[in-house]
């Protein structure tokens, strides 16, 4: 195959991506730290144009379902976020940032507005913080975060196997109040086997927002 001109270097901003065609093949061109990289222009998952996606930290995020690829190697780093989310985390404060970033991407992939995603994120983190702070003595130290999207409703379930302790001090009390104001439905069920917090909220359809 002969060399073909795809684009001029000046057309790609540092840290940016453009979509071009080489013959009939769509190609996404990236510029990272001065070097140029190319991948197929269409996401491997569904018909989405990768050049419309979001470049961050050497990765391209597909605009449709937030699949994540390494730009340099082309490796798929994260599956499309179309399915229900079922995750397990160590019951440590450091887990919160991971829960937050995954949940934010998942919610955005499911059509939540920035404000809706933010509100659900804060509510979910309050439940996770309870699992981390209160639920555990020594011993098992994990909690689960499951999220579903059914009939335009988001349902977050945070489950741990520790014993719920009533919030102490104004901090956690404030967290619970916050959780209740941000979500439409909050259910805290604690038994000897652990605690399950269920949070629910409807999403506003994008065309009505």
């Amino acid at each position: 195959m002969a060399w073909q001109k795809a684009a001029s270097l000046s057309e790609i901003d540092e840290g940016g991506v453009i979509g071009v065609h080489v013959g009939a093949t769509p190609v996404a061109l990236y510029r990272l730290e001065g070097a140029v990289y190319a991948t197929h222009g269409i996401c491997t998952h569904a018909m989405a144009i990768l050049a419309d996606g979001f470049v961050e930290d050497g990765k391209i995020e597909c605009p449709l379902h937030q699949g994540l690829f390494d730009i340099r190697s082309g490796k798929a780093l994260s599956a499309p976020l179309t399915e229900d989310l079922r995750t397990t985390w160590p019951a440590r404060p450091e887990s919160l940032v991971g829960v937050r970033h995954l949940l934010r991407r998942w919610l955005r992939a499911h059509g939540a507005s920035e404000q809706e995603a933010y509100d659900i994120l804060v509510a979910c983190q309050e439940a996770c913080a309870n699992a981390v702070e209160h639920a555990y003595g020594p011993g098992r130290a994990h909690f689960d975060v499951d999220v579903t999207h059914r009939a335009a409703r988001i349902r977050v379930t945070v489950r741990d196997e520790g014993r719920w302790r009533e919030p102490r001090g104004s901090h956690r009390g404030r967290g619970i109040a916050l959780m209740r104001s941000l979500m439409e439905h909050v259910d805290v069920d604690h038994t000897d086997d652990g605690t399950v917090v269920v949070l629910e909220r409807a999403l506003t359809p994008a065309d009505a927002a």
Binding site: L96, R100, Q115, Y118, E126, E133, H171, L178
Partner: protein, 116 residues
């Protein structure tokens, strides 16, 4: 990668202004609080905390700011918060009533005007 918060501090007309850039949660709220307190001297009349570049703030951050507002009030100093219009964190600040304890302003400039 979205990062946990860092503080970028400046002084305007003798008033410390702290830009809180990034995310605040239970892992960093306490150390951020210490950094913010360190910006104040006995001669400071006020502290401005700019939440414009803050991408995440939950009850641990809210509690930090409530505590800071209270401490400053006892020392006859004032805490001003900058919360741009349309910022997703505005809702959390209203729900918890933090805006009733520390006045909020849409820009740093507007916050500083209140101390002139």
């Amino acid at each position: 990668m979205r990062q946990l918060a860092r503080i970028v501090a400046e002084t305007h007309d003798g008033i410390p202004v702290a830009r809180l850039e990034g995310e605040v949660d239970m892992t960093n709220a306490q150390s951020l609080g210490e950094r913010l307190r360190g910006l104040l001297t006995n001669r400071s009349v006020a502290l401005v905390v700019d939440l414009g570049p803050t991408t995440y703030l939950d009850s641990s951050g809210i509690t930090l700011l409530f505590g800071l507002a209270q401490e400053l009030r006892l020392r006859q100093q004032r805490l001003h918060l900058v919360v741009p219009e349309g910022s997703p964190i505005a809702r959390v600040i209203t729900i918890t009533g933090l805006d009733q304890t520390a006045p909020t302003h849409p820009t740093v400039e507007r916050a500083l005007e209140r101390e002139r």
